[in-house]
Symmetry: C2
Subunit: 108 residues, 2 copies
DNA sequence: AACGTACATTGCAATATTGCGATGATTTTA
DNA sequence: TAAAATCATCGCAATATTGCAATGTACGTT
């Protein structure tokens, strides 16, 4: 019924899934890519670069904020967005551990 | 309108996003985790372990197959699922490259 | 105070996702 | 060949996501 049964899974599984979910849209990938190249950007920068409407970008920024990957600081009339180093480190370690497994599959 | 404008993004951005999206559900995380531990499983194994209905598991398996992370081989009346080593390597490298960046953010 | 700028929020329409019962397809077994 | 086992697909309901126009909010400028 369109609702994920997250109580069936461990916290780690849910955390990993929600981070992956946040990265699961090209606009959000593009936002982070721009942040990696430019250090800090405000909402208008993303709108210009990505070419989606301002409310749409704002919503994508909100989702990235919700999982903690980015954070925004109000600076006068604009908001400076940048990557959260702590969460970034958490993600890097989570995914590295996740993928860095010696797969011993012998069935195919 | 509920439809992702993927033509606005690069192929790499779309690829990374679709892999992340496939990982963006705890049931699919649990499926892969089980595959990492047990080498090979059939659909019934996942149903038993995860506790979702068989059609639901089957659909999650399909999505993982669509991005190439897993592959299934028919073995008699059952289907042997295992991780695709090629795509696994691709994912590992994509994410490692993606996260392994020296962030020089100085704004916050 | 009035206006402009920058961003968030609201409300809406279109589409996608999640989950499952019922049913279909395929292979093995009796 | 009939029955059983295993999985995929269909069809549906509930909910989530995507995108945007309109509007709200907060700060700076004149």
């Amino acid at each position: 019924m369109g609702v994920t049964k997250s109580d069936k899974f461990t916290e780690e599984q849910n955390r990993l899934a929600s981070i992956a979910k946040a990265l699961g849209h090209p606009a959000r990938i593009a936002i982070i890519q721009q942040l990696k190249e430019k250090d800090a950007c405000n909402c208008g920068d993303f709108v210009k670069e990505i070419g989606l409407a301002q409310p749409t970008i704002s919503q994508h920024l909100k989702e990235l904020r919700n999982v903690g990957i980015i954070k925004g600081t109000v600076e006068g009339t604009s908001v400076c967005y940048c990557i959260s180093h702590d969460t970034w480190k958490e993600c890097r370690e989570l995914f590295a551990e996740w993928f860095n497994v010696d797969l011993g599959c012998s069935c195919c």
